[in-house]
Subunit: 253 residues, 2 copies
């Protein structure tokens, strides 16, 4: 498998980008490193002449960019989402350096869709976006001045990715990771069930769901594992329905 | 010797830069990676408001920038000059990748002045400038679109330099893996609950438990995650007791 194949499964997702010039500069950075698929979640201005000016010849990336209304739309079909963060969080998913992470990204991108997710210029990723990432990447920077420009971050990550792809030796794929929407379907089902059985009466739901997301992000759920876990949730609900009927009958006798 | 010492002997030299914004973006890129010394050979516009706008807080780098009239002035006192090139030349000095070269730069910069020399946006280094370099560095790029923005090149090289200067690992909160007996306690509780809710009527219990063990083995459960998961199991069964009471009360009313 050649380098081009790995990279063609990788999308760069820019969330709520404020400055149109940054989108163009990011497209240029992507193209210099052989990345082609750009997704934009609610960009403030797009298309925009400044974007094309900064793209400096990477107009094909912009022309094919996919504008999305939500994070879930941008991650449709993705099995591995890598969120870029300038901070280390309280409830942290695993955080790696670009050098550690990009070989993993190349590995994942052999056969599946991978997303590199960049937050806004001012505040980075939201908690919601972090929660949808299987891995966080932090570009090590000067602690006194750590704010890389958005396109500069894209350049560094794309560069590391390109270097990793050049030296990539394919491993045997050992697992069949679930797609983003399958994993999200599980989390929605889990949250609904936990409400239904009364688990959240003593717990903060959003914090608890973050904890559970973190656990399952580490596990990298497979598609059939999602089915098993959802099967357990379904049986839990059915069980309660049966019990309810039984108690009613007991009372009626 | 610490990272700061290596980096304080390194200057970034931008030759005949055309766009003032690129000087600012380069200063920002330098500062994010801990580089501080900027030399400008005959910049077309400097100082310039656009430069400061793109520096986004790296104004101290700009304020201390040294404007020079010639390459020799900019390299005064330097023992090792590394020229950045997008091309491979006829009369080539040794060309390395940033990854190969930056450890050497850090080595040289331990005790002596080192320069990283960047040419113009349009045409890169002149032959005269190449001739003053002891080493050339080429950032590997897409052969069909290899033109990195000047500041993006500074960012990649400064990033590689920073990684080389200090094998930096972000301070990730260490995980507290659960003890063997805690994990086994969870599996026993899970199996009991799955029996109770009737999940195993359609599933082979031992095979299913093997699958679930495999999933959680990948996750490396933490102690408090075991507590959360067992809490969910407890609520699943307690719910039925509560439900039974609730129905009784409803019937009695």
């Amino acid at each position: 498998m050649n380098k081009q194949n790995h990279l063609s499964n990788i999308r760069v997702v820019l969330s709520h980008t404020t400055h149109p010039g940054n989108i163009g500069a990011a497209a240029r950075a992507m193209k210099t490193m052989g990345l082609r698929h750009l997704y934009l979640i609610n960009p403030r201005h797009f298309p925009d002449p400044q974007t094309n000016a900064m793209a400096a010849g990477a107009d094909d990336i912009l022309a094919n960019a996919v504008v999305c209304a939500s994070i879930d739309e941008a991650l449709q079909g993705v099995v591995y989402t890598v969120g870029m963060t300038a901070r280390l969080r309280d409830i942290s998913i695993e955080v790696k350096t670009p050098r550690e992470a990009m070989p993993l990204v190349v590995q994942e991108a052999q056969e599946q869709q991978v997303a590199l997710l960049f937050g806004t210029e001012m505040s980075g990723l939201t908690n919601e976006e972090t929660g949808r990432s299987q891995l966080l990447v932090n570009i090590p920077a000067n602690p006194e001045f750590s704010s890389l420009n958005l396109a500069a971050s894209v350049q560094v990550v794309a560069y590391e990715l390109s270097v990793a792809a050049q030296s990539f030796a394919p491993n045997v794929a050992q697992m069949q990771p679930a797609k983003h929407e399958q994993v999200e379907g599980y989390f929605a089902h889990l949250e609904k069930t936990l409400f239904e059985i009364g688990f959240f009466t003593t717990q903060n739901p959003s914090r608890m769901m973050q904890r559970l997301r973190r656990l399952y992000a580490r596990a990298r759920l497979e598609a059939d594992e999602v089915n098993i876990l959802r099967g357990i949730l379904s049986v839990t609900t059915e069980y309660n329905a049966r019990l309810k009927n039984r108690y009613k009958q007991e009372e009626e006798q």
